[in-house]
């Protein structure tokens, strides 16, 4: 059997996302097809699927924050966050997000990954603040602009945490790098590895700040439309 057959799952994933099929369906079919193509028997495929699904339940624990966020939102949390930003002179969407990016990257570099996240920070606080900063300047925003600003709020969170965390010594990624190198007989301390994450961390900060400055310019040009 050709080893290339095991790539059938990759092909299904690419085709599925390109055709905008339902992602849950695409991923499940790709998983089952990969297992069968790798000549596992069907029961073993489903068993492995279930084992990994169960073992990774922890990624869904972020939803535990929803009851708190929901209650607060219902009682005006987002409106309060917006009012607060509206009072800050000179606040723009780009500047709000640059401040959050810097905060997220610095705290992640200190190992404080839990101070952020899409459910806890972005939806209830950061996205409303970024929207409010634009609204104060340009009045009511078009849906297109509003969605663009929200997407940027989520991006700032991702970029901040991804490129901050590798500077922290005890982070899983640093330990994984150490482990893989050790397996090859190369013994390094986490410190020796983490220090080489700093150039990239600085570079991404500069790149993304420039993009947020451009976002501000675009918003000013279009006046919220």
């Amino acid at each position: 059997m050709s080893p290339l057959l095991t790539l059938v799952g990759v092909a299904i994933v690419i085709a599925g996302f390109a055709l905008r099929a339902n992602p849950l369906l695409v991923v499940t079919v790709a998983g089952l097809a990969t297992g069968l193509a790798g000549s596992m028997d069907p029961v073993a495929v489903v068993t492995e699927f279930g084992r990994a699904f169960t073992e990774n339940r922890y990624v869904a624990l972020v939803w535990l924050t929803l009851p708190v966020i929901g209650i607060l939102e219902r009682n005006g949390l987002r409106e309060r966050a917006q009012a607060l930003v509206a009072k800050v002179k000179g606040a723009t969407t780009g500047r709000v997000l640059i401040a959050y990016l810097a905060l997220r990257q610095l705290t992640a570099a200190m190992g404080l990954n839990s101070l952020g996240g899409h459910a806890q920070m972005v939806r209830p606080l950061i996205a409303p603040m970024a929207e409010a900063a634009a609204e104060t300047r340009f009045g009511k925003l078009s849906d297109r602009t509003r969605y663009l600003i929200r997407a940027h709020a989520a991006a700032a969170d991702n970029i901040g945490v991804f490129f901050g965390e590798d500077i922290f010594l005890a982070m899983g990624s640093v330990l994984l790098i150490k482990g893989v190198l050790e397996h090859d007989g190369i013994d390094l301390t986490p410190m020796q590895i983490a220090i080489w994450s700093i150039p990239t961390a600085l570079a991404v900060f500069v790149i993304h700040v420039l993009r947020l400055v451009r976002l501000d310019r675009k918003l000013r040009r279009e006046g919220g439309a």
Binding site: N22, L24, V62, I71, L112, Y147, H208
Partner: protein, 318 residues
């Protein structure tokens, strides 16, 4: 010792409440499907540690098909309008931030405290679980503060999590399905097939070509797996170590650090990294599930180029 099972059972209750409220939502013609989806999800959370994996696997597959074929229907959830919310915002003022900020602060404090809290010489919570257990405690404490402060009933946590879970939709379970896909990829050896393929096309005696191949391999394989952690061992053992470190005497620390971060560039640009891209798009109620990715692509591509340049300039020099 407190394990994650308690936390999973609690989350299971929340999903079960969503299933129950959706079941009673007669305005939704697809309420049966919705109940089935969230009900099965609740069962996998509450009993997942004890159910045979084959059974959980079947349930996950049923969930995917239930959501994938025709969706879960429109849910009705009455929400106060913007003016009412602004009124509440004035009344409660900055006190509204207290429960919201309690979540990260208590999670962090708990994570630190559980390093030391022990009973009879044994840690109360295993170090790997400390953050998740602390998150759960933080949510419970935040609710204990928010409910009396905002004069909410005990039903509010369930109706509100149901409202938001329905807004997010079945994508809520996607990160776990992707992890399951990753496990099957690993079992079938997809990684080594890809690194063989990439390895076959590199002019190995050219240092720059090797660095570019490793970088592209890291970013692409991360995009396929949705996770740089899955790509890193395969690409590093297959290309990075033999070609960059052993053949061209590159610095392994730089290879590892910059290599991993090149993988992260891929994470920014792939729908397979659901919890970073598709989930926030759903959570922020964007009409385009790829809205977050589209915003991240320019930064991801620019940083990819910078990383290749950094790797090439640094890895053979130190």
């Amino acid at each position: 010792m407190i394990g994650l099972d308690v936390v999973y059972i609690l989350a299971g209750f929340m999903f079960a409440a969503t299933a129950w409220i959706n079941f009673r939502d007669r305005a939704n013609p697809k309420r049966w499907k919705s109940t089935l989806f969230w009900g099965f999800y609740a069962v996998t959370f509450m009993f997942g540690s004890w159910l045979p994996p084959f059974v959980t696997g079947c349930m996950a597959i049923v969930m995917a098909f239930t959501a994938g074929l025709g969706g879960l229907g429109k849910h009705s959830a009455p929400e106060p309008d913007a003016d009412t919310r602004r009124g509440y915002a004035e009344r409660f003022g900055n006190r509204l931030f207290i429960p919201a900020l309690m979540i990260p602060v208590v999670t962090f404090a708990g994570t630190v405290a559980f390093k030391y809290l022990g009973v009879g010489g044994k840690l109360l919570v295993a170090p790997g679980n400390a953050t998740l257990v602390s998150l759960c405690i933080a949510v419970l404490l935040a609710l204990a503060v928010a409910l009396p402060m905002l004069r909410q009933t005990l039903a509010a946590p369930f109706t509100e999590s149901r409202r938001l879970l329905n807004a997010v939709g079945p994508v809520a379970a996607l990160p776990q399905l992707l992890a399951a896909l990753g496990a099957l990829f690993a079992a079938a050896g997809v990684g080594s097939v890809i690194s063989d393929l990439v390895g076959r096309f590199i002019p190995v005696d050219n240092g720059f070509a090797v660095v570019v191949a490793y970088g592209i391999g890291m970013a692409l394989f991360t995009m396929v797996m949705g996770n740089a952690f899955a790509a890193f061992p395969v690409m590093t053992a297959g290309i990075g170590l033999p070609l960059i470190v052993h053949l061209h005497h590159g610095n392994p620390a730089i290879l590892g650090a910059v290599g991993m971060l090149t993988g992260y560039c891929g994470t920014l640009m792939t729908p397979m990294a659901a919890n970073f891209n598709a989930v926030p798009a759903a959570l922020l109620e964007l009409p385009d599930p790829n809205g977050v990715i589209k915003v991240q692509v320019p930064t991801g591509l620019a940083l990819f180029v910078v990383n290749i340049a950094l790797m090439y300039v640094l890895v053979f020099r130190f």
